[in-house]
């Protein structure tokens, strides 16, 4: 049984495998962002703990390709492992300021600043106006 620090490192490596870093786009890896601490561990524990044990301590030091292959193999034996993690991971990862910024959005909640939008081009309605009335008499 790995100790807690090993377990954390293992989970971080799993998260970095599910969403790896992408330097070109400036996207951080999910593990390196520290998201392991934001997942609902009590809820996830029964689903993911057996899988983490099966992966073993050397998982964390393997290459991305090797880790991906191991997780794919694990999915055959424990089909709920990856989807359960992803459901929560996506909700955390895609709400991180660093991720939003890398996607070209401001790294903040929508309120209070909101977003500016382009002017309406109502000239596009010319064809609709030209067709004339469209409702029935009743």
């Amino acid at each position: 049984m790995p100790d807690q620090a090993e377990q954390e490192a293992l989970l971080e490596a799993v998260l970095d495998t599910l969403i790896p870093p992408c330097e070109e786009r400036g996207m951080p890896g999910a593990g390196a962002l520290g998201l392991a601490g934001e997942l609902p561990r009590d809820e996830l524990g029964p689903v993911i703990d057996p899988g983490l044990q099966a992966l073993g301590a050397d998982f964390a030091s393997s290459s991305l390709e090797a880790r991906q292959a191991r997780l794919e193999a694990l999915s055959g034996e424990q089909p709920a492992f990856v989807p359960a993690l992803l459901f929560h991971l996506y909700r955390c990862y895609y709400a991180q300021p660093a991720v939003l910024e890398a996607l070209g959005m401001p790294g903040r909640p929508p309120h209070p600043e909101g977003y500016a939008m382009e002017e309406n081009d109502l000239g596009l309605l010319a064809a609709v106006r030209a067709r004339g009335r469209q409702y029935r008499d009743a």
């Binding site: 599910l18 996207m27 895609y94 709400a95 382009e118 596009l124 309605l125 004339g132 469209q134 409702y135």
Partner: protein
Amino acid sequence: MPHDPVDVLIIGAGAAGAAMAWSLSDTRMRILCLEQGDWMDPARYPSTSLDWESQGMGPMSLSPNTRGRVEDYPINDGDSPIRISNFNAVGGSTILYAAHFPRLHPSDFRVKSLDGVGDDWPIDYPTLEPFYADNDRMMGTAGLEGDPAYPPKKVPLPPVSLGKVGHTLARGFDRLGWHWWPSDSAIATRDYEGRAACINLGPCITGCAQGAKASTDLTYWPAAVRAGVELRTRSRVREITVDENGLANGALYYDAEGNLQEQRAEIVIVACNGVGTPRLLLNSASKQFPDGLANRSGLVGRNLMFHPYAMVTGLFHEPLEGYKGPTGCCLMSQEFYETDPARGFSRGYSFEILRGRGTVATALTGMSSGALPWGADHHDAYEKLFDRTAGMVIICEDLPEECNRVVIDPELLDSDGIPCPRIEYRLSDNSLAMLDHAVARGREVLEASGAHSTTAISPLPPAGWHLMGTARMGRDPERSVVNEWGRCHDVKNLFIVDGSIFVTSGAVNPTNTIQALSLYVADQIKQRLDRLFD
């Protein structure tokens, strides 16, 4: 100890109850509204935090069963292909609504005469027109005058921003020569009556932190309370009580501590929505009304109409800035609104254009559709999905059928022990044919707008947000629950003013009409005060 009696008791502080309270507040009557929910605090709405999308799946979910707030009541909708969405608070479901705010068409009031299906309403578009105008002013409707799909009407505020999504789709509609128009939206596009202008936050359907969206806690209620109406929150009505003459004389309700309270009133007005109202009437069975209050016709709860929805989404190559702008308010098309017998179904539908998905929804939808892998290819795939979607919901007219109904569940209770509703609903052949037609046309316009692929969900399961028909209006007491001015045929001092009284559903979002009807019924009450119970 009973509370001091009032002249008018309104039950439910949502869209309809608020409009009624405001309109009656210029009389000298003592008016009280009982509402099971509380005032909301917009400063705590999800769009003020980064996890706004997750909050929309939990504590601010559209489904009362998922939210499970103490103010909510559970609804057994497990057997219905369409599930109930609502909200229980001051403002009712307008706290969450998208604020798409069109009117019905004149033809919607004459469905039987024009198309031989459903029933005609006992009132018509010109009757409601002045009340639509009042409601547009009170709610602050934004839009553009001159829509050829409607008789001429004034709109107080300029339209919402179309944005890249809207302009892209508008060009698609133009290519096909189909009708489109900027949506009528209950959204302040400029500062309006103390409400700040819309700043395009996006997630209107988890509550508007800006206060630009016209939920009735921000529109009618402040004015009604200023004018002397009492709004008693966390007060959940168990039943409406009747006297020995069969007249309503008040209500029994539970307060926030779960204590049973009694309230007497001369007039009772029910505004609990198309599911909450039949629930309350059926739960108010008594010796005089063994099948439920005002239910001698047997129609309380029956003829439930939803508007079957489909959602069609297109994937584009270019970013569309779809995270900006009000989720459900952009533009609409009524190209297929009026009946065309050649299409193989009666009546028609509207397209309501939606903005794009948020970052989390993009990932979760990609995961469930299989379009988004995890691992080394994740970011490539995500880039092709994020901010590349635009699409629509399609609002189909639902025809009234007695088999579609709200009944009382034999087991389900709310936290006060009050029996809860169960939904019995199926889609008609007419609805299924209409949905198929609508999805095909939806795909066509998305492709004409530049989408390289499209997906569709039909029917859309969570789309039970328009709740209509369960206490229908009519002149014949055998065939309707309320008369042509909203008074119950069986109980002469009991009124109903929410979507329950719709005779047919039309193919537009109902709230502007629900509120116009409520203002109209209020006006009828005021005009008839000296002979109200004749």
